[in-house]
Amino acid sequence: MSADWPLWEVFVRSRRGLSHTHAGSLHAPDAQMALRNARDLFTRRSEGVSLWVVPSVEITASSPDEKDPFFAPAADKPYRHPTFYEVPEGVRNL
């Protein structure tokens, strides 16, 4: 069937003011038909006001194998969070 049709990842903006969110994937021969299929598949109940379709092969991802070292630089920097700092009692709006 769609063996030769590429896989597309579908992103839906559920309403204005929100980002597009990954909804799922589908097969289609080209981008236009992927959009139409995505409309029929993911927005049958007005779940979206805007759609993106992205060829799955075009996405670059971090590898789960290097999950820890890849994200490690953030782990030892608690001073990036406001809770790291001490504020004397009674001081407000800080």
Binding site: A3, L7, P29, Q32, L35, R39
Partner: protein, 387 residues
């Protein structure tokens, strides 16, 4: 610390098993044990397993089998109800039934998508369905003899499906769980429209009431079989529960379903065809009669009333639709050929200006049904100004 380039969310059809799935490059026993331990810990901590995570081969195989069977059931399940679309008694009922059958197609596609993230291609899955190597729910091998059957299916078959599927929203495999969330949101309308349909018949003429009762008589027991064999005979249940693919046993879910249905049947003024049905004070559950498991096995083995017809129709739909797929591919090729000249080489453009984020990227050929990005922006501005 570099990232690798691979399609992350779901793989291309036919690409085969994800190398990340089994220990890459033939891991040592120690590495294998560490991967297994990490997997077990993630499952125990109620974390979700995602497509490119390492997972035991048996976990992957179990999921592929279950999700594929589930997807096939959605697709085959369109047939018994579609049988009545042209004969729906009113435009309202017809529109409802079409929407429901379309939803079932959608459910099948969500699930095929989830199965594909495990490295099994769409083509492969369909082929296994068409050649009978993968099963679908035995319930869809029963015929829809009257209009009331559409009601009984919605109330009982979709009802049983919901009882089964709600716990699957917390399944340990992320893509399956997410697909089930989507499916469950849509299922409640299926059940309600069936119940409403039966209620209308039950409150109608004597003949209509009898038709509703007859449908419930025929669909009740097969619906109870949808939860699968009794716990002591359920081959894979224990392991699936350990893996948190499954959250409740077959018998537990079946009991839950019976308890839900009894008062609903009463409100319909219809009888459930089980003389042994009675409230058990001690258990605080409804006791019910013995299920004919021989019938279940027969239907599963291919000897139900409609097994042959369902598979035949599925294959025919696939073959008869070949020209549509070919036309779509030809159309895509033609559009691609027409669109080639104007775009400058992407590499050259990149050196001058950074690529626009997708939210602002101008589309060369916006689809008719979607607003152009610019119109979209000005509409947004308009809203802001007026507030």
């Amino acid at each position: 610390m570099s990232s690798v380039t691979t399609p992350p969310l779901s793989r291309r059809a036919g690409e085969g098993k994800d190398p990340a799935g089994s220990a890459p490059g033939g891991a040592s026993p120690e590495e294998e044990a560490a991967l297994q331990a990490a997997f077990d810990a993630a499952v125990a901590a109620e974390e979700r397993i995602e497509p490119r995570d390492w997972m035991p081969d048996a976990y992957r195989a179990t999921l592929v089998r279950q999700i594929a069977q589930h997807a096939h059931s959605e697709i085959i399940g369109m047939q018994p109800e579609a049988n009545w679309i042209t004969r729906a008694p009113s435009l309202r009922r017809k529109a409802i039934l079409m929407a429901k059958v379309q939803d079932e197609a959608g459910h099948g596609l969500y699930l095929y998508g989830a199965a594909e993230t495990l490295g099994t291609g769409r083509e492969q899955l369909l082929d296994k369905l068409h050649t009978g190597r993968q099963k679908y729910s035995s319930i869809f091998n029963y015929p829809t003899l009257t209009w009331a059957d559409v009601g009984a299916i919605g109330w009982l078959v979709d009802g049983a499906a919901i009882t089964n599927q709600v716990p699957l929203c917390r399944c340990s495999y992320g893509p399956y769980a997410r697909a089930m969330v989507r499916v469950c949101k849509e299922e409640s309308f299926h059940q309600r429209q069936g119940y409403e349909l039966l209620l209308a018949l039950s409150r109608g003429t004597e003949a209509q009431h009898a038709m509703a009762q007859d449908a419930v008589d025929r669909w009740w027991w097969p619906s109870l079989m949808m939860f699968g064999p009794p716990d002591e005979e359920s081959a894979h249940s224990a392991r699936s529960m350990e893996w948190k693919i499954k959250r409740h046993s077959n018998d537990e879910l079946r009991q839950r379903f019976v308890d839900i249905c009894v008062p609903q049947a009463e409100a319909l003024d219809l009888t459930l065809p089980d003389p042994d049905l009675r409230w058990n004070e001690q258990r605080e559950h409804w006791d019910f009669g013995t299920i004919d498991w021989q019938e279940f096995r027969d239907v599963l083995a291919g000897n139900g009333p409609c097994n042959e017809q369902r598979l035949h129709q599925r294959r025919a739909a696939h073959e008869d639709g070949a020209w549509v797929r070919e036309a779509a591919a030809a159309h895509a090729a033609k559009q691609a050929a027409r669109a080639t000249p104007p775009d400058p080489a992407p590499g050259a453009a990149d050196t001058k200006t950074p690529p626009l984020p997708a939210e602002q990227a101008p589309q060369s050929r916006p689809p008719e049904h979607a607003p152009q990005p610019r119109a979209d922006e000005s509409a947004q501005r308009g809203v802001e100004h007026s507030s």
